[in-house]
């Protein structure tokens, strides 16, 4: 069966450019998460979507970061005016619903900002 799909798998960009990262969650999963993982580090929470509720944006590190989820399915994470410290692997996960800690992760989008 289809798992969580992320694209692109790798993205190299120049400082100051905007980037968009896409996540296709598992069909029927209502919860969607974005995390960031820097080299050798744990997972840093960015944003959480659940159904039609207002998203939890408490982990977004600056106003250069934004995310949307269209039609309760596909999500896009946008980073404007990228900086070198934004270099990391961006992981998307979905789960069947709220209160479930069983997250299904994609393989991530590796972002390198030169």
């Amino acid at each position: 069966g289809a798992g969580v799909s992320q694209s692109p798998s790798n993205k190299v960009t120049e400082k100051g450019k905007d980037v968009e990262l896409r996540c296709d969650p598992i069909s029927g999963h209502t919860a969607l998460y974005w995390y960031r993982q820097s080299l050798g580090q744990g997972l840093e929470f960015l944003i959480y979507f659940q159904g039609n509720s207002a998203p939890d944006k408490s982990g977004l590190p600056s106003d250069r970061f934004s995310a949307e989820r269209t039609g309760g399915s596909v999500s896009t994470l946008t980073i404007q005016r990228t900086q070198q410290e934004d270099s990391a692997v961006y992981l998307c996960a979905s789960s069947p619903g709220p209160n479930s800690g069983e997250l299904f992760f994609g393989e991530g989008s590796r972002l390198t900002v030169l």
């Binding site: 969580v4 919860a31 998460y33 995390y35 580090q41 744990g42 997972l43 929470f45 959480y48 659940q50 939890d56 408490s58 982990g59 992981l91 996960a93 709220p98 209160n99 800690g101 069983e102 997250l103 299904f104 992760f105 994609g106 393989e107 991530g108």
Partner: protein
């Protein structure tokens, strides 16, 4: 602020040598504690959920236990294929707090 601390950062064992990984946590009311396994270049893969002190879960050579302050992941007679980074995470029992807070992970290497 909810926090998760894992130790050791890295652990090397010989095949068959049993050991334990530690996860200490502080959380404003625990909804659940979760263990994940992450292979290089992959996203984390769910292993266990623990909800209350005294609870234990097992899967093959792995057993997870929970107290009010920490969780242990015991690995019995490990094999090289158990080599991975093991991540611990907590979810707070607070209205609207659905995010999982992860520790830094323990990188486990099993030598044949």
């Amino acid at each position: 602020e909810d926090q998760v601390t894992q130790s050791p950062e890295a652990l090397r064992l010989q095949e068959g040598e049993s050991s334990s990984l530690n996860c200490s946590y502080t959380v404003s009311g625990l909804r659940g504690l979760f263990w994940y396994r992450q292979d290089p270049g992959k996203g984390p893969e769910f292993l266990f959920t623990l909800y209350s002190a005294g609870e234990e879960k097992e899967k093959e050579r792995l057993k997870a236990t929970l107290t009010k302050k920490e969780s242990f992941l015991h690995i019995t007679a490990p094999k090289p294929e158990d080599s991975a980074t093991y991540l611990c995470a907590v979810q707070a029992a607070v209205q609207g707090a659905q995010k999982l807070v992860f520790g830094q992970g323990t990188r486990l290497t099993i030598n044949p």
